[in-house]
Symmetry: C2
Subunit: 267 residues, 2 copies
């Protein structure tokens, strides 16, 4: 592995582009290879066994591209496939769950922490169990928010509908008096303003993807594999090209849009 | 093919259970074999080529079960794979699009017809093009409603949030003065009351799955393959068992819940 090798990122779809963006911002000199498994999105509704199999294929694809590290941007895959990938891959593998958990514990004074995510992420209790593992007194309230992903994909990021839905999902956090809320889904950073407006200024919002970007910078510095180049060459791969792909991807990337190449995975 | 052979139904997931229910109601003596491709749901975000491939595998599975006819409950698959399946299958194949279109044309006086569906169904213009093909003066207004599926899966079928979302999606139908609205997605019948409340009593709602059940009855009578038995034996197959499966399936089936068996498809 050379330090000028790219960093690999994979996600079940295009939501992970928010993680891509966060990494881009923190590590502008690193070349990124992004793989969105759009043909098989979403992972959240699939069994752990299936998600592990898909994750192995994604990681193998990235290793073939010669990456020096792999970021699992997908919360579901981070929750169920990380240990397996770490055993199989020759390069360091980083998920989004642990960085999100550590950032939340650092931000929270009362250690009363809320978690939002897809139904699958919440059902897996990946955040909850790691929060309690790392801080045994932590009080965790988790709420699945299945309407948030389609809201983001619709581009309905402000206004009455988003607010009413957010109020409904976040009501529990007020009762539980959490002081920190983990955005445990790659799509949610686009709803950060709407969520902040509903939940108020006393709750710190922690973006797991953002936290993973920070953790990645530490990892790369620790391992001494930071890029010595100054020009990054990013590549974007998807396993299928859905109709709304470009417009949604552009929203995730804040306007920028590298060309995406379609590839086949699995048998 | 014997007349006591079962009828096969496939869908990309569990939404097609509304079609299963509609057929059950019209043809209580027929045995049904339902295949929900839950491992690969949704089809709507996938390319036509991929949807055709999955549909072939689903139809082959049903033919192996000895079905006498196949109903494609999935709107996406009905839109892109029906011709291909009709060429390949030894038994009659019925989609939901054409029955929905014919029912809407029969119901509409002004021939001003609205269509709602997933983003993929609307982008395919399957309903619009067939409406215009069968009635050249038809005026069609199509609106994609990506939030409706997660609303149904959340069980948020009444109340302010559903109403606000429905108002937003249905605003165009008022301007266009449609007198008939096609529910072009298997999930939408569960929102029928909410949609009726917003759109008012002057618009007739046409449920494509319901229309397909009526068309199936005609087909079976025409071909002389109606069951002579009186006890139906229904079987339910899925390609993966997602977390919320039972509770959502029960909602689609109005409380009843046959045991689902998991099967593997594809290579």
């Amino acid at each position: 592995v050379t330090s000028n090798a790219p960093i690999g990122i994979f996600d079940s779809g295009i939501g992970g582009l928010t993680v891509f963006s966060a990494i881009k911002k923190r590590l502008p000199n690193e070349s990124l290879v992004y793989l969105g498994d759009t043909a098989r999105v979403p992972y959240g509704t699939k069994s752990a066994e299936t998600v592990v199999r898909y994750s192995r294929e994604n990681a193998a694809f990235l290793e073939e591209k010669g990456v020096k590290a792999i970021v699992v941007a997908c919360n579901t895959a981070s929750a169920v496939a990380l240990d397996d990938l770490r055993q199989r891959c020759r390069v360091p593998v980083l998920g989004v769950v642990e960085p999100g958990v550590r950032a939340a514990l650092a931000a929270s004074q009362a250690k009363r922490i809320g978690v939002i995510g897809t139904r699958a992420t919440i059902a897996s209790d990946a955040y909850g169990s790691m929060l309690c593992e790392l801080h045994s007194d932590a009080r965790v309230v988790s709420v699945a928010c299945p309407l948030f992903v389609p809201l983001v994909e619709e581009g309905w990021l402000t206004g009455e509908i988003v607010e009413e839905i957010t109020k409904r999902y976040c009501a529990e956090f007020e009762y539980a008096r959490v002081d920190t809320l983990i955005l445990g889904c790659t799509h949610y950073p686009l709803l950060k303003d709407a969520i902040a407006k509903v939940i108020g200024p006393n709750v710190t919002l922690v973006d797991s993807g953002e936290a993973a970007a920070v953790a990645l910078k530490f990892l790369i510095d620790d391992e001494g594999i930071a890029s010595t180049g100054t020009v990054a060459d990013d590549r974007l791969f998807v396993t299928d090209v859905p109709g709304q792909f470009e417009s949604v991807a552009r929203r995730f990337l804040g306007g920028m849009m590298p060309t995406a190449k379609r590839v086949s995975l699995g048998s």
